[in-house]
Subunit: 474 residues, 4 copies
């Protein structure tokens, strides 16, 4: 296992291929556009050596039997997925933000564990053993993996194969004996800046004539032909400013990936043209991903609760006055966390060894994750007042103006000094309308997809039959 | 184990001591005021002999190791409580109603299993072995137990000891060598009509000067000195009418219990004056009770979904048009069911052998159970139209009038005949504003109590500390 | 104008043609199935002679210029419709219930005032002067008019003309020189039992081949060929019981109307085959009806607030503890009331003299009326506890049992005596799950119809154009 | 009246006393920190000369009888306030943003119109004629007025007079014969950058020993001793960037005002020590302000609807699929707009000539304005997808990179080109989590204040009495 310093060093060795503001980011561990996310992941590496955090941040490897970073292991039991959820909540507790580089790629590899097993059973292929070797490689090198699912998509009323621009979706351009050449654009990919590897999977189920889009593989982040463009976040320039107008402990990173004829060797390909298994992958991945996702928004909601309490006390108010609203925030948080646990334990074991949460409850949780946090944020803004709601508060630079900075800062003092109130207000702004928003509404798929799955999974006819029996209708 | 017929016979042997409309109910298995609840429980007894239902309705006894009716066994694992939840959902599926006589008393005895263990540890008493013997008695005789927690309470601003009328709460009137004499009133007790035994427990935490209210025991339903008055339900007289204006498959029963100097022998007493353990009992009981309660409202919500589908189809409408709203109903149902599973599996094992769900998640679930079903019902009424919303539909008798019955019934025909529409509408009315409402808002305690527990269990200060760290505040 | 006694006498003179439970109701003013609704309307007649209430319950006639019962006058100004709304809120304040016989028929005649004017303009007919004469007749005789819009409808996927049973909709069977013969079934018609006259209108917009359903007219309630069957309400048999298990001040009445070849003379026909004006009628009627409907649910919500306060105080609790929830109830009430006022004053004057509220805001109000009161009721049940939620409280008869009645009633005493608590609990039960539910979700049309109108009335393209301009998109 | 160019020129003549980022803003009409708000107001001035917009943007002066900019006139009728609401909705339609400099100051002067009348009646003062002269001055010079209510406040558990730092509230430091000297800090004041004048009023009701805080007056924006510090907004640096990452049509400005011994001549003072009238001012001001505030959020919501439609169409999706959600957005918008109209017309005329909306409905509207727009925004983000939710989309600069800009922009093309999708996504981001958020939750006072007013204004005891009557309780 690596510690945070070793992890940072390993990132530095990668070829720079990330850009923001039209410029190359020479060192992702230092550039303010990506540094915070790297810092967040580095702390997760360090956690492996902290007696208190070790239990959550590591797990026994399913391959070597040795302790490994949790994000390098297979989730074999409900307890493993619960620990995943708890790790996510803990990550948000420490940084207030999403930890992309220890999340989606890992979850995709887990889903592929079952999917490759199924393909091999059906087709006599050997994807599963390739994936096992890749897992060993990750474990041996303690790597962080981002996961790329969403394509640029183009016109939503057309399928991938009929788009005017084929590059709207990542696809196989050429099949060679030793691998494939892929090209196209993946969009809004989380955590790439802090990852060593990128796992790429199809963005949805695929039809027969779409087999050139049925490709799953892993590549080094700095693979030849790959250009990565970091996207904006609300108030993202604050990360580059001096001062406290944004918290500087952790943060998200999201990017567009431009694949310009990237070669992937066979050993790193886990799906290659078997279009009918894309749907299976999506089903298993979303069940795995949406069960612990409630822990993410719970963890961030916990920090909002904390900031609300601190802000109110800093303003001289007693917690009692607004306890009802804090309790409502907590109910929202625990609902998505707890329903996720329900999804996890109501799941089942796949013959490959993977534990798969109950898809119905996972999708229901996704829908709650897309709504309840908005109520939590609204309360946080109501409790915080205008300085949170729109961040209408003087900038750090103004609060340090030799002309009027002291007067301003003094005027903000209440039960706490002005700086304390400023820092707390900026944190709550960041969490609710700033760069800290984790994107759980659409992240990992829109709620409409979850609603469609709920429709597919509920036994409507059985319920209708129950009603007929009780009503006494033949 | 008993089957339904044996169960009914055993009830007939009890002394008649239930009243409704001011009249003695001579035979609870036949009187329309109680028959439906007895029918519902009888079906649960029969389920022990049905290969498909046996798994849910029985369990291996913790005492004899033999199969027993589930409600005569100890819940030792999360799987046991999940099976409890599934059994409740299945009960609602069959009858649309709450099954009191297999629920609260059983749950109380389970909570007492841990509490008596704790008292014995602390005080050197022998309550736990008494309870074990009582459990054996239940199992040997396959008995159904109602559970009485809520007292009549009197003035809410006064404690039990300072009420003008001492009988507002069940209390010890006299301690004898061989037992105690109790008196007072327990209110809104579910399932007594279909039970052989009644378990009585304190209705809340108690202070030092309230030790005469700290009493837990079990008595036969027909014990000398006990008068039971069945309460009303919405539209309850329909149960006594011929026809389809209320479904006739199952139903709830609730009662007031008047204890007029009832003697309880020592062997049936499980708490006797140890006031400080009343709070522990409430905490364990509510955690145990509120984890599976989401399955109850889910089960009833499933039937509402079914009735909504059938009603719409009977009116000639396609399910597609209102699928979004059915999906919302399903999301509500699965949320309370799934969060309950989360509470169950996030629990822990008590040294006595009882599994106790996570109290925080259980109480959060209670709060959802007190709100989400109202949305489900509202949708059911919107989809069903006016004939569901207020039941404004001709009575069974009018639909059979020789003068105009045929014309009326013909005019109600649509894609189905008039009788089918009438029966389905009456079912949905019964579920949403009729006698089928299970009372989950206040049943088993009001949501305010749950909110207080959430307040007590969330680590507010820890969350505040997290916010300080991220904000960079000392 | 008539007082209540004169009104009751005038009702007694009508031929008995109402039935419930398969039996003829010989005197609607005395039969418990209809008495409460008649009582409620009688009080409205008396209000014309009460100095405090006169302003709301009367208006200056648009025909004679003399004071008249408000429900016999034309709504010419926004103030007239606001007074209508206030009258409705006041009616609910006095009885807790809907006053059908002073509502829908009146509103339909007002809508017809504009529609007949339009038809006459377009077709050279003389409907408008007929209607004016009919209005004079109503005013001269101080009559109450029920309004029948909803047809039995049959299969919802078929239009009226293609139903297997033509009688599913009221229709013209035969056109004679002196009038028409109509037959068919109108369903869920409110207030007929307390009305002298019934106004009948088409239940929806109509196509060219549906002109035999395009008929609007007024008939005496006891016209030859008309059979009226009163429908059930939740817990409706309590109206026939002695005691306090339902309040006995006012109540709703709803009925099915069976037209078996009813002759309508020309002078009472206001639309006769002009199918293309059915949609206009519906549009004007719903705008007029849905603007003040928020006052109805507000008025009933006010009584729920009052009952919640009284119940809590009777239990010994201070209002302070639950003030937040009372405030939420009030916000719900005032929202539908106030939005209705907005709809009214944002309206416009029709050339015929009728004031027509803003249809967009009226339909939005309908949607709120279909949702907010459910929240209000839920809070009322939470505050009232189990004795409200499911009415699980001993019956009046049990509370008067010589055997145990006194003990029961004593045990219910708190800060108030047991009877007071029982009466208040039964009121809140009646308002939230009993016979007092006014049916505002589907009454006067389902919310889906209102949603369709919102879709039709919002300028979506204009909004899209605004966005393009601000975004700088060509 | 002035046109936009004249207005801009008049602003340029003011002494520069605004700062942001620690730097003096030399020309508010050009500096990107304030330019957009000035542009927005300039367009309102131009509207006076546009035949289509003139009706909304001007009104007949109550003093001269001549046409004047609406924000220089008295609101004498409900129609005047409705026009105010419509003007606000139109302003949001054009710019998507709040127009501070034509709003709060004007509303304060209107409220003072009645308050000065009352003080003069009670005390024999001459404030009202001073105010009349000031109104003439505004009209004669066509001035825009910001309004400053909120103080920095300090410790919320202390009143203004007991704060450690007196400057936490604006207060009278010295009374001179010809005026007063004031000092202290006003916080979060909207629209100052685009105003000629600032109206200052007390921030809340005041006690006897707080009379030095009871001061209302008007000053030129550039008065000696006043320093103005513009606050941050989410993503505010985008206003200073080239390109489309923020819309450039209009925007908000908010500031802190540091009064360092500012002299106010008597002629511009409208309240001076009469502490008991501070509460009256607040009551009238909030009623006036919160009635039309629903039009603001409706107007912005309309633009969100438009952007949602355009975004979806640009992605190739049909409006039909998500029409239900657009309808929900519209219902939210029309609810706050329509309830505001209800508040306006349910108001009453003050003897001074001012029309005062119904305070109860105004405060209810404030509460809805603090909640419904969050639902609207959530839907906008759900419909827009991830590129709206967190703005995770490449920056303008990246989309113009010579290295990869074209590939990126091409990959974003769908039914529209990439630029169109980018511009629309950035607009929706700006409206929902960017600089366009108008701050209606806490702006003009927090919802808790409104809840307290609802509590104060509802006749709880009357409602309780109604319940007693219907329940038959003495």
């Amino acid at each position: 296992m690596k510690n945070g310093a070793q992890y940072r060093n390993s990132l530095k060795k990668l070829r720079p291929n990330l850009f923001k503001w039209g410029k190359l980011l020479k060192d992702v561990t230092r550039n303010p556009a990506t540094k915070l996310h790297v810092d967040a992941i580095a702390a997760c590496y360090d956690a492996a050596f902290d007696p208190e955090q070790r239990t959550l941040f590591t797990n026994q490897s399913h391959l070597s039997g040795k302790p490994a970073h949790r994000w390098n292991t297979l989730m074999r039991t409900p307890e493993d997925i619960l620990a995943n959820a708890r790790m996510k909540r803990a990550q948000f507790h420490r940084t207030g933000a999403c930890h992309g580089a220890t999340c989606a790629g890992w979850t995709m590899l887990n889903a592929l564990w079952a999917v490759t097993w199924e393909i091999d059973q059906a087709r006599g292929t050997t994807y599963h053993s390739r994936l096992e070797r890749y897992f060993r490689f990750l474990e041996d090198n303690s790597l962080a993996t981002a996961g790329a699912l969403t394509d640029a998509k183009g016109n939503r009323s057309l399928g991938p194969a009929t788009q005017p621009l084929l590059d709207s979706h990542l696809h196989i351009k050429e099949i060679r004996e030793d691998g494939v050449v892929v090209r196209g654009v993946k969009a809004q990919i989380c955590g790439v800046a802090a990852a060593h590897e990128i796992v790429c999977v199809p963005g949805g189920s695929l039809k027969e004539d779409e087999s050139s889009f049925a490709i799953a593989f892993a590549i080094p982040r700095d693979v030849a032909g790959l250009t990565i463009v970091e996207t904006r976040r609300p108030s993202d320039t604050r990360d580059e400013e001096e001062g406290w107008d944004a918290p500087k402990v952790g943060g998200i990173s999201q990017a567009f990936l431009l694949f310009d004829d990237v070669f992937v060797p066979n050993e790193r390909i886990f799906l290659n043209g078997e279009h009918e298994f894309a749907a299976l992958f999506i089903n298993i991945f979303t069940a795995l991903y949406r069960a612990p996702i409630g822990a993410c928004v719970a963890g961030q909601g916990d920090v909002m609760i904390g900031a609300a309490i601190e802000l109110a006390q800093a303003a001289g108010l007693s917690q009692k006055i607004f306890q009802d609203r804090l309790t409502r925030m907590a109910i929202n948080n625990e609902t998505t966390f707890g329903l996720g646990i329900g999804a996890i334990f109501n799941g089942s074991s796949h013959p490959s060894g993977l534990w798969i949460p109950d898809p119905l409850l996972s999708h229901v949780n996704k829908i709650l994750v897309a709504t309840l946090p908005y109520d939590t944020k609204r309360i946080a803004q109501e409790l915080g007042g205008g300085i949170v709601e729109t961040g209408c508060f003087p900038s750090y630079r103004d609060l340090h103006s030799p002309l009027y900075g002291k007067e301003l800062l003094d005027s903000l003092a209440a039960a706490s000094d002005g700086e304390t109130r400023a820092r707390l207000a900026r944190l709550q702004e960041w969490l609710t309308i700033g760069g800290g928003i984790p994107g759980c509404l659409n992240g990992g798929g829109a709620p409409d997809g979850a609603r469609i799955m709920v429709r597919a999974l509920e036994p409507w006819k059985e319920f209708a039959a129950l009603a007929r029996v009780i009503a006494g209708v033949q």
